[in-house]
C-alpha cells in the first residue's frame, strides 16, 4: 500500500475496535500508530484499510494478533543502567526503610526483560522474598513470552553490557542457561512475580504499590491519554510511593504533576506526595 493512510480511515478503524472489542486506540500517538497500522497492512497484504477493518469485523481470533502487531515491544534488560543504579542505591532502600514489604508494578512489561532485571537486582540486594511484583501488559502474546523467562540470545550481548554498567554483583551468565538459541532464565527468579493482562487505557485500578515502573509505554499515547493514565498511576501508588517513567518522558505538562515531586530528574523518578 503506497498511499498515505487518512485520518478518517484511522478513526473508522479505532471506532470499530472500540465497539467490537472494547479497546480504545483513539488516543494513541498518531504518527507511530499510523506506522504500526501501515506495517500490519503490509504484513498481511491488505489492499486497503477497509479490508483490514472487514477482517477485524469478521474474525475475532485475528484481533489478538492485531494487538500484538500494534504494540511496540522493544525492550532491554537493565535499560538505562544508571536508572537501575538509582533504584538499587536510593529508591528501594528508601522504601524498605519504612516498609517490610515491597510492592512493585511493571505497567507495560513487554516480554519481561524489565521484570527479570528487577528480580535479579532485588535478589542481589537480598530482598526479593520481601517483594511482591505484578507485571502487566495489554498484549497477551507478549505476556506469555514474559512468563517463560526466555530472551533471545542475540540480545544478550546488550543485556550483559547493561548489567555490567549497572554494576551487578556477578556476570549475567549466572542467571540463565542456553537452550536452542535462547537464554532461559532461572525460573526461581520470578517466584514473586505474577503476570496479568491489563489495559492502561481502561485504567482499572486494582491495587496499591510502593513503586510503579511505566517506562516507554506512555510515549505511544497522546497527551490526553497520558494525562488520564497518570491519574490512574497516581491512584495506584501509596502516598510517598515512587513512579518511574522512561528517560525521555516527562510529567511536567500533566494535570497531576503537582501531586508528585521529582526525586531524580535525569532518570525520571517521581514521588507521590499528595493523594
Amino acid at each position: 500500500m503506497q498511499q498515505e493512510i487518512e485520518i478518517a480511515e484511522l478513526r473508522k478503524l479505532t471506532e470499530l475496535i472500540k465497539e467490537k472489542y472494547d479497546y480504545d486506540f483513539k488516543n494513541y500517538a498518531m504518527s507511530s500508530f499510523k506506522r504500526r497500522i501501515k506495517r500490519i497492512v503490509e504484513l498481511y497484504k491488505f489492499k486497503t484499510i477497509d479490508s483490514l477493518i472487514e477482517k477485524l469485523e469478521s474474525t475475532p481470533s485475528f484481533f489478538e494478533e492485531f494487538v500484538s502487531e500494534i504494540t511496540v515491544n522493544v525492550t532491554e534488560m537493565f535499560r538505562d543502567p544508571s536508572f537501575w543504579s538509582v533504584l538499587k542505591e536510593q529508591i528501594i532502600p528508601n522504601i524498605l526503610l519504612n516498609h517490610n514489604k515491597l510492592n512493585v508494578w511493571h505497567a507495560g512489561c513487554s516480554s519481561g526483560e524489565e521484570v527479570i532485571s528487577m528480580t535479579i537486582m532485588l535478589e542481589e540486594m537480598g530482598v526479593l522474598d520481601r517483594s511482591n511484583i505484578i507485571a502487566t501488559d495489554i498484549d497477551t502474546a507478549i505476556i506469555d513470552r514474559a512468563k517463560k523467562g526466555t530472551v533471545s540470545l542475540k540480545n544478550m550481548e546488550l543485556n550483559a553490557s547493561n548489567y555490567e554498567r549497572f554494576e551487578g554483583k556477578y556476570t549475567i551468565d549466572k542467571y540463565f542457561q542456553e537452550q536452542n538459541g535462547k537464554a532461559v532464565f532461572d525460573p526461581n527468579l520470578i517466584r514473586q512475580v505474577s503476570f496479568r493482562k491489563h489495559d492502561l487505557v481502561k485504567g482499572v485500578v486494582f491495587s496499591k504499590f510502593d513503586l510503579i515502573l511505566c517506562r516507554n509505554v506512555m510515549i505511544y499515547f497522546n497527551q490526553t491519554l497520558q494525562n488520564d493514565v497518570l491519574y490512574k498511576l497516581h491512584e495506584s501508588l501509596f502516598r510517598y510511593g515512587y513512579l518511574a517513567i522512561g528517560s525521555k518522558e516527562s510529567l511536567i505538562w500533566c494535570d497531576i504533576a503537582n501531586k508528585f515531586i521529582v526525586v531524580n530528574n535525569e532518570e525520571k523518578v517521581y514521588k507521590k506526595i499528595k493523594d
Binding site: 500517538a29 507511530s32 510515549i219 497522546n222 528517560s247 525521555k248
Partner: protein
C-alpha cells in the same frame, strides 16, 4: 536574483545525516544565527547506547542551543531539536514531537526516514528537508515524502560528501531541488533568514 527556491511559506527544517555528516553539520550550526526563526530537527545516526556527549559535541560551535526533546514536547520557534539516542523522533500534528522505540529502520534508531516522513506529513509544503553525507539509504524515502507533499528537498553534493551513499540514494528515488555544497547550504539558510525577516 537568487538561484535558490526561497519562500516565506517555510515553517521548519529537517536535517538528516550519518557517517561523515558531523563536520558539515557542525559548520552549518556555527553560522545559523541565534535567532533564525524556524525550528530545526536534526536526526543523525549515533551510538544507540550513549545517552550523553553528542549534544555537547554538536553544541560546541553552534550559535543556538541544541536540545534533545522529551516525548510530547511542544515545538518552539528558533529551537534546534536533536533526535535522542535509541529513540525515533516523530513530528506530530498539533505542534508536538513524540518519541518511540519501534524496531530499527535501515539499521538505525533514530531513523531519518521516520523524522522526515512525519515532518512532511505535519508541515506539508512548508518543510525543507536536507540530507547530508552517510553510508546507507536512510532518509531517501523521507525525502521522497517531502517532495510528494510539496516541500523543498536538498542534499549535500555527493562530490563533497565524505560518503555519498545517502545523498545519492535520495537522488535516485526522488526529485531533489538543490544539490549543494556545505557552504551553499549555509548561503541558502542565510538568504532564507533574511527573507523571513523582511516584511
Amino acid at each position: 536574483m537568487t538561484r535558490f527556491k526561497l519562500s516565506k511559506k517555510y515553517k521548519a527544517i529537517a536535517i538528516g545525516g550519518s557517517a561523515g555528516s558531523f563536520q558539515p553539520i557542525t559548520k552549518i550550526l556555527s553560522v545559523i544565527p541565534k535567532d533564525f526563526p524556524l525550528p530545526i530537527f536534526l536526526c543523525l545516526h549515533r551510538l544507540k547506547h550513549v545517552r550523553h556527549g553528542f549534544v555537547e559535541a554538536l553544541s560546541i560551535k553552534s550559535l543556538k542551543p541544541i536540545h534533545e526533546p522529551f516525548d510530547k514536547e511542544s515545538i518552539k520557534r528558533e529551537q534546534v531539536y536533536l533526535a535522542p539516542a535509541n529513540y525515533h523522533l516523530s513530528i506530530e500534528l498539533g505542534n508536538t514531537m513524540s518519541l518511540s522505540t519501534e524496531r530499527l529502520i535501515n539499521n538505525s534508531r533514530p531513523a531519518i526516514d521516520i523524522t522526515l516522513e512525519s515532518a512532511a506529513y505535519a508541515y506539508r509544503d512548508k518543510l525543507i528537508g536536507i540530507l547530508m553525507s552517510g553510508a546507507n539509504k536512510d532518509g531517501a524515502l523521507g525525502m521522497q515524502k517531502i517532495k510528494d507533499r510539496g516541500g523543498l528537498t536538498m542534499v549535500q553534493d555527493p562530490e563533497e560528501s565524505m560518503i555519498s551513499t545517502m545523498p545519492n540514494s535520495a537522488l535516485s528515488v526522488t526529485e531533489i531541488d538543490h544539490v549543494l555544497k556545505t557552504d551553499e547550504i549555509i548561503e541558502f539558510i542565510l538568504e532564507l533568514d533574511k527573507m523571513l525577516r523582511s516584511s
